[in-house]
């Protein structure tokens, strides 16, 4: 049985920027898969390669065994993409938009499924409204609907909840979860790490066009630091410099492997005569794992600092 998505050594360069630097990734059918990384890590470029919007310089990508360039018709029929940009065609109503999108896939008489989509996305009342008149959150829902009109077995959502209010986010995730339970493979990129933690079974982290971590969400959470300590001080002890995950002025976030590490941290602070003003301990969540992996892997952190 072919994988839902199979990416082999895909690289893509835009001018002097190496957007993708050899990505290998396999997503099995039925997975809920997360694609995380800072801005510019290559997430959207990778999705564009899968969708045939961008051509890879090297490597191959397949959707359910269909190559995205040589067998693009079947590959695209298997794929639904919710783009990151809030785009719409101002000439049409919500229902027309969905009917036309079905038609592009050669699907006629799709009314029943379109009604179901409208219902799940809470768009029934707006079905005959022009796209222009919708709020941002509503337009986002129509984009989700457009990605689903042809019942694609693989669904890619590129930051679908950016700028969407909390209530909609909940109902959207309920719908996406249902689709996943019904057998659809879901690939998600998001900036909300707690969302990825709650939804995704497996996660790939991208940095500067490379996969720097790829594991189940459980393993990622358990293999990294159990704890983080957030302290406010002028500096951290020299020996603890490498364990700084994040620094914001005088606030340092340090990774601890076990509770006993806290004692050695306090000892080191005392030895070097560093006074701390605040100290908070936090259990690991995906955000900390993410920060730690981003800080310790791939090209030096200076590269991404400079890009800000």
């Amino acid at each position: 049985m072919p994988a839902a998505v199979e990416v082999v050594n895909v690289a893509r360069r835009f001018g002097s920027v190496q957007a993708l630097a050899g990505i290998d990734l396999t997503v099995a059918e039925g997975e809920f898969f997360g694609l995380l990384g800072p801005n510019g890590a290559g997430k959207t470029t990778l999705i564009s390669v899968l969708a045939g919007l961008t051509r890879a310089d090297t490597g191959t990508a397949r959707i359910l065994g269909h190559d995205v360039t040589t067998d693009y018709r079947r590959a695209r029929r298997c794929l639904g993409v919710v783009p990151q940009e809030l785009v719409f065609d101002p000439f049409f109503t919500v229902r027309e938009t969905l009917e036309i999108q079905s038609g592009y896939f050669g699907i006629r008489d799709n009314g029943a499924w379109i009604d179901e989509i409208l219902h799940h996305l809470d768009l029934v009342a707006k079905a005959d409204a022009n796209m222009r008149s919708l709020s941002g959150g509503m337009k986002r829902r129509v984009l989700v609907g457009q990605a689903l009109v042809h019942k694609p077995p693989v669904i890619v959502l590129d930051e679908p909840t950016a700028g969407v209010d909390v209530e909609l986010r909940q109902s959207l995730w309920a719908f996406i979860r249902k689709l996943n339970r019904d057998g659809h493979t879901i690939i998600l990129t998001t900036h909300y790490l707690e969302e990825a933690e709650a939804l995704c079974g497996r996660i790939a982290m991208l940095k500067a066009g490379r996969v720097v971590a790829l594991d189940t969400t459980q393993n990622l959470l358990s293999r990294s630091a159990v704890l983080t300590a957030r302290i406010t001080a002028d500096r951290v002890p020299a020996a603890w410099q490498p364990r700084v995950l994040k620094r914001d002025g005088r606030v340092f976030v340090l990774g601890l492997d076990r509770y006993s590490d806290l004692e050695s941290l306090l000892a080191a602070l005392r030895t070097e005569g560093i006074a701390i003003e605040t100290l908070a301990l936090e259990e690991t969540d995906l955000e900390q794992v993410f920060l730690r992996i981003m800080a310790t892997s791939g090209p030096p952190a200076g590269a991404s600092e400079a890009a800000r």
């Binding site: 079947r74 940009e85 719409f88 000439f91 049409f92 036309i100 038609g103 050669g106 006629r108």
Partner: protein, 259 residues
Amino acid sequence: MKRIAGAGWLTLLYKELLRFWKVSFQTILAPVLTALLYLLIFSHVLASNVSVFGGRVSYTAFLVPGLVMMSVLQNAFANTSSSLMQSKMNGNLIFILLPPLSPLELFAAYVLGAMVRGLVVGAGVFAVTLFFAPSLLFLPHPVWALAFALLGSAILGTLGLVAAIWAEKFDQISAFQNFIIMPATFLSGVFYSIHSLPSFWLALSRFNPFFYMIDGFRFGFFGLSDVPPATSLAVVATCALLLSLLTLALLKSGWKLRH
């Protein structure tokens, strides 16, 4: 839910038609009015001064097929260029790039949409100008006229597609329209017979494909033309073929559409 393989492009054609139909005031009525104004002004000012085809055809009657064809050409160009350009600028081109549509299907849908728009506007111009030259209703060679209208609108629809693929802002589309399409149509014999031109301009006109479209189209109305209609048809058909092949190659390469 019924899936018809290879029928996606028909929806794109339908979308293209629906798009201009929804704004038909601007896309159909406005160009008809413009052509009518041209006819009123030019025929009023020039009718007694200009002799065409050795005086065998009145200037007003001569002008009508020229204006009809000019409207067909300009509107075919406007349809593809503005539709694709708007999709590019709004970002909603992605809705067309994600489905399994082949380059040929994209091409066919856009160009056929442009042809329909051109022919609808052309028919509208013909209907209102007929009032000034009723005898034109019984054109002697309708098949010739139709052949040139079809090929001409296909060529301009394709040119509009190329312009919109190439352009990165609306500015460039209007440059294409104002510096290439407009001069080429105006200098092609819409308003005059090229035999009334000085020899240099006469020779130059023979390199303008638009001249052959309009001259051949006019043959359908009068049985008279500056060059034999078969020659014009050969020139126009060759242009249509070469341009289509170029455009298909552009679409296949994904140039400026699929990064």
